[in-house]
Symmetry: C2
Subunit: 245 residues, 2 copies
């Protein structure tokens, strides 16, 4: 499994992914699911992937090598804007589907992948998209400023209640880590280390990149603090008076 979460905030974009992959419970590995395309002053893009690793690695390779879109071969390093970047990711997904779907189906496997692409390209604003395995996509908006792929449920309640476009990048980082911690606590197939990237609006570079391991002091603070805070939150609530002795 996988958990990746992206946030589109007024201050910029936060992207966080885990690194656990598994081909069955008895075959667990560590692969980064986060890929960056950065040219300072021109663009800062971050791609995160979930689903079949062979598919998502093929997509990432095609996005670097060139994918046919709108009459020319383009890469994420040269697309003119974020909408085209999302289209290009979708086109890459469709190209891999055309290559692999029949062979996967012959093995009884579906074509399973989903991707988050977020960032900013000079001349445009920061944008964040979720690309489905059909190659179509949706975009984060003020109403729903975060998007998730993979094991999204455990980490969603806190995001549902707190995240707004006014959330700062620093708060966004804390919230993505809390959301990830809830997921890791309840699903063994999501695990450290984590990859974090932050793109601040109009800087056109990835201002923070961090690999977060077991030894990361801040993550440990969040992990222990959130468990304690949840317990305290519960302890602070009133008890029902209708449970009969």
């Amino acid at each position: 499994m996988t958990y990746c979460v992206g946030m589109l905030l007024n201050e910029g974009i936060v992207m966080l992914s885990d690194t656990r992959t598994n081909a069955g419970l008895d075959n667990i590995s560590t692969f980064s699911k986060m890929f960056a395309i950065e040219r300072e002053g021109d663009r800062a893009l971050v791609l995160m992937t979930a689903g079949n690793l062979a598919i998502t690695q093929a997509v990432w390779n095609l996005l670097q090598a060139g994918v046919w879109l709108n009459g020319s071969s383009q890469t994420l390093a040269d697309v003119p804007d974020m909408f085209t970047a999302a289209q290009l990711v979708g086109a890459a997904v469709r190209q891999v589907a055309a290559m692999d779907s029949a062979a996967l189906a012959a093995q009884g496997l579906g074509f399973d992948c989903s991707l988050l692409i977020g960032g900013q390209i000079a001349g445009g604003r920061p944008r964040l998209f979720l690309v489905y395995s059909a190659g179509n996509f949706i975009e984060a908006t003020d109403d729903t400023p975060f998007l998730q792929i993979g094991e999204h449920k455990y980490g969603k309640p806190i995001l549902d209640r707190v995240v707004t476009p006014q959330t700062t990048l620093v708060e966004g980082v804390a919230l993505t880590l809390i959301s990830m911690d809830s997921t890791i606590r309840s699903n063994l197939s999501v695990a450290l280390p984590l990859d974090l990237s932050v793109v601040r609006v109009d800087q056109l570079r990835i201002c923070t990149r961090r690999r977060i391991t077991e030894d990361d002091a801040y993550y440990r603070t969040i992990r222990d603090g959130w468990s304690n805070a949840l317990r305290d939150a519960y302890l602070g609530l009133p008890r029902p008076d209708f449970v009969l002795a």
Copy 2:
């Protein structure tokens, strides 16, 4: 969808279910998924169901009418102990599967149901079981004192962190309602009203039964209080110092 949670605590058993059913997003109804078998001084059993409503209603009808098990027709009102009660639920599930599976498969539908059966029968201790659609079952233990069916993920993180066998019944009721609130907040197909039952150890009756609606003052306190408490818990955590300006 559905969410039901049961807890096996030293003080007894807490059972909570929602009431929303849907045959597609455009066909939403309210059905109780909680059924009680009570004979004061002899037994107090509570059954909760998830999955295909036609299947689970058939199971409940068979459990009242009689299911063949160990050489005789038995009902939940006359099984001698909780283990036999769980076996009887499993036998009822298998009987419905024998009747309906082929016709469901012809419509492209699986045989989908799961049930929680908890309570106490005179001469034994309180026990809680989760019965699968194959009719086999597992039992809650001190290591894992709660069991869930249906949409279990959103409401699991708080339970993972707090519930132990030492949790009191009053705390257990608060925790099941918090867990349910997290689920309702994030999944439209789980909804009020709720059905709550509490079986206190060795009382051999259902000491508390309550239908919880939108107007329930305590539930409103939990709902608003938990959202605020989550926000406060998050606000009380430190912020990362590594996000660059």
